[in-house]
């Protein structure tokens, strides 16, 4: 049996990878994937806790998160395509029309 700590460590590593990717990368697609990575890192910790405490609510939460992530992916990818069509770039630093 793998102890809880291992799951949590892996979950933390995934989350930090997501955060760092979000902060460092410039490509919107990569940033988007980093967000998914963070979500999944959290999902992993939910599932691990649910298994550890024999509580179903954690697993149900994961389903919600996945649903939301799927919806977010649909909307987000649509926005990314729209941005690419108008700007012909996926570099976030150049998508700064609203910046003062």
């Amino acid at each position: 049996m793998v102890p809880l700590t291992h799951y949590l460590l892996l979950s933390g590593i995934l989350f930090v990878c997501g955060v760092l990717g979000f902060l460092i990368k410039r490509n919107i697609i990569t940033i988007f994937m980093s967000i998914e990575l963070m979500l999944n890192g959290v999902n992993l910790s939910f599932v691990a806790f649910a298994a550890h405490w024999h509580a179903l609510s954690g697993q149900i939460f994961v389903f919600f998160v996945m649903v939301v992530a799927a919806a977010e992916a649909a909307v987000g990818l649509a926005i990314i395509i729209a941005v690419y069509r108008t700007r012909e770039t996926l570099n976030v630093d150049q998508v700064n029309l609203l910046k003062l």
């Binding site: 955060v19 979000f22 902060l23 976030v92 630093d93 700064n96 609203l98 910046k99 003062l100």
Partner: protein
């Protein structure tokens, strides 16, 4: 008498005139403005005459409660008027002389652009002066008191584009505030100790109090503080400095406000408060000393002035000193008598001087006049009457009133031969400088340049087309003639103590009856001797100025040279203005500039605001860099914040 319910109309009529002219005068024709101003003022005079006809020395004082004003516990002050013999005399003087001066102003100010403004101010002045005179309590009197100060300020600074006029107005206002300070404290003392400001109830409360013969008590304090107020309004030492400067105003204003009426308000107030003074010999002594010194001091300054209006201004200060001398020896009716005759002949002197200034095209320097009796016969005649009257020649008005004062100064229980001697000396000096003015203006050869050169000068705002010396129009000469007649006959009401008897009911509570008795009992020979002495003094003054300014006009300059420093001191008014500037004005200016402006305002108040704003801007300048608009830097802040929270929770051991 039958109560007269229309008494309130007397002050209100001029107020209505002032309002109509003030609000609509700009659009109206000058004829309409004159009609309004003259009719409202004339109506007030007619009302006063009508009331006077039904009033005698036997009449009881009459009250008219108009409206409630202040009700605070047992302390009541109402809008109420009070008419007794004293206020009746003042009423007649103010409305009568005021009406004549209104008529005169029509001629004098006709060509001025601010004609409607002038007439409106004059009427406003009448309103406040009549309120002052008719008030039944000290507070209403104080309103009138401040109101005439306001009117005086407005009229001194009437030609406000002229810097000297504007600052003269301010000076008058500020110096009067010093006096009002004393007056107010006196009122506070009265409220504190008598719980009322109403004349009748205060005087009733004071009447049974004993004379403060040894040491100074409450009544002495009230008396002296009232005198401080009177010294401000009536231009007595040490607050007289504003009156000579007030001559910057138009000449009718000098005649009405700064000679005949407003400046006598202090005398009226002291006479009205005689109940306090009679019980405070020390306060009386202060009044007498101030009056006597002012009379002599101002008269000597008058000798060396060359501006015709300045001579008259110092003469006014000096004559007011006489009135206070009378009040100071508890001869209040003599003071009021002189107040009345002075209103006639000094009003006349100013109006005649105005006529002269008008005639020579605005010149006020007597050295540039001379020989005018040929060109202005009527001005000359009336001025002659006034000059002889103020010098105290029998049987003109000034003789009777001045003699009354000098006799009382000698014979009264508070009097002394010192007052009398200084008074007679003043009479001599008065006679000298008045005849000096008379000779310099009307005799000899005309010393001015052509009148045309003098045009647009100084006091005179006129731009009339006359080129040579000319007599004034009849609208100006008429009042002169009426006042000249009054200056002759005005003193006759005092023959045989009739005036004193008329006022006796007012001053009864004091020693008026006693004084009359004493006068009768005193040696008649002494009285006639003193009378002769003052006549001799007047004649000596005349003779001296006749010698110096008519027979040998070159001598005065040599005498002046011979006197050297003393002469310069007199010409420069004993440097009193400079002394006040050094003692009071400069410290205030410096203190305001250095401490209040640079220190408190710039150093504390401005610095607080400036520094807090500056520091806010510095902080914002730094914080601004956080808000770069870079999305990922925001995310970085969020992540950093989250990391800090987590680190904190781990550190504190939160589950």
């Amino acid at each position: 008498m039958t109560p007269n319910p229309y008494l309130w109309l007397i002050p209100v009529l001029p107020l209505a005139g002032a309002a109509i002219n003030g609000f609509f005068g700009r659009q109206s024709s000058k004829r309409a403005i004159s009609t309004v101003a003259l009719s409202f003022c004339g109506a007030a005079f007619a009302m006063a005459l009508w009331i006077a006809l039904t009033f005698s020395s036997a009449s009881a004082p009459y009250f008219l409660d108009l409206a409630r004003w202040i009700r605070s516990g047992s302390f009541n002050v109402d809008f109420a008027f009070y008419l007794d013999q004293l206020s009746l005399v003042m009423l007649l003087v103010v409305t009568g002389v005021g009406f004549l001066i209104h008529i005169y102003s029509v001629g004098y100010m006709w060509d001025d652009d601010g004609y409607y403004r002038f007439m409106s101010y004059l009427n406003l002045f009448m309103f406040f002066m009549l309120t002052l005179v008719l008030a039944k309590n000290y507070l209403l009197m104080f309103i009138g008191w401040e109101g005439v100060g306001l009117a005086s300020y407005l009229l001194i600074g009437f030609w406000f584009v002229k810097d000297s006029a504007a600052s003269a107005g301010k000076k008058a206002f500020i110096v009067n505030r010093i006096g009002d300070f004393g007056f107010l404290i006196a009122l506070f003392l009265i409220i504190k100790h008598f719980h009322s400001l109403d004349f009748t109830s205060v005087f009733q409360a004071v009447a049974p109090m004993a004379k403060e013969t040894s040491g100074a008590g409450l009544l002495t304090a009230i008396g002296i503080l009232l005198m401080v107020g009177a010294a401000g309004k009536s231009a007595q030492i040490p607050l007289y400095v504003w009156l000579p400067d007030a001559m910057e105003g138009p000449t009718p204003v000098s005649a009405l406000i700064h000679a005949a009426t407003m400046v006598t308000a202090g005398v009226y107030m002291v006479a009205r408060s005689h109940v306090f003074f009679e019980r405070a010999p020390m306060a009386l002594m202060v009044v007498a000393i101030i009056g006597t010194l002012t009379a002599l001091f101002a008269a000597t300054i008058g000798i060396a002035q060359t501006d015709i209006k300045k001579v008259l201004a110092y003469s006014t200060v000096s004559q007011l000193g006489y009135m206070f001398m009378a009040c100071g020896v508890a001869a209040f009716s003599a003071g009021v008598f002189h107040l009345m005759t002075h209103a006639f002949f000094k009003g006349l002197l100013f109006l005649a001087a105005g006529s002269v200034i008008h005639g020579v095209g605005g010149e006020q320097d007597m050295r540039k006049m001379g020989g005018l009796r040929v060109y202005m016969p009527w001005t000359f005649r009336t001025m002659t009457v006034a000059t002889f009257a103020i010098a105290g020649f029998w049987p003109l008005a000034g003789f009777f009133s001045k003699d009354e004062i000098l006799w009382k100064a000698y014979s009264s229980e508070y009097g002394s031969w010192v007052f009398w001697l200084l008074g007679v000396t003043t009479a001599f000096v008065t006679s000298f400088y008045m005849f000096r003015l008379w000779f310099m203006t009307f005799f000899g050869a005309y010393r001015g340049a052509t009148a045309r050169d003098g045009h647009g000068h100084n006091d005179h705002g006129h731009r009339h087309g006359h080129d040579e010396l000319h007599e004034s129009p009849w609208v100006m000469l008429g009042p002169l003639v009426v006042l000249a007649v009054l200056s002759v006959v005005g003193g006759w009401v005092g023959i045989g103590g009739r005036f004193e008897h008329f006022l006796a009911p007012v001053f009864q509570s004091g020693g008026a009856e006693l004084a009359i008795e004493a006068a009768d009992a005193a040696s008649k020979t002494t009285e006639y001797l003193l009378m002769a002495a003052s006549l001799v003094a007047a004649f000596l003054g005349f003779a001296l100025s006749w010698t110096l300014y008519y027979l040998s006009p070159a001598v005065p300059a040599r005498i002046a040279e011979g006197l050297g420093g003393l002469y310069r001191a007199v010409v420069n008014k004993y440097y009193v203005d400079e002394l006040y500037a050094l003692l009071f004005v400069k410290p205030v200016l410096d203190g305001s500039t250095e401490i209040l402006w640079h220190g408190v305002d710039q150093g504390v108040i401005d610095a607080t605001v400036d520094n807090s704003a500056d520091s806010a801007r510095h902080v914002s300048d730094n914080l601004r860099h956080m808000q770069s608009g870079n999305l990922r830097s925001y995310a970085g802040w969020v992540a950093a914040g989250g990391a800090i929270v987590i680190a904190y929770m781990i550190w504190m051991g939160v589950r």
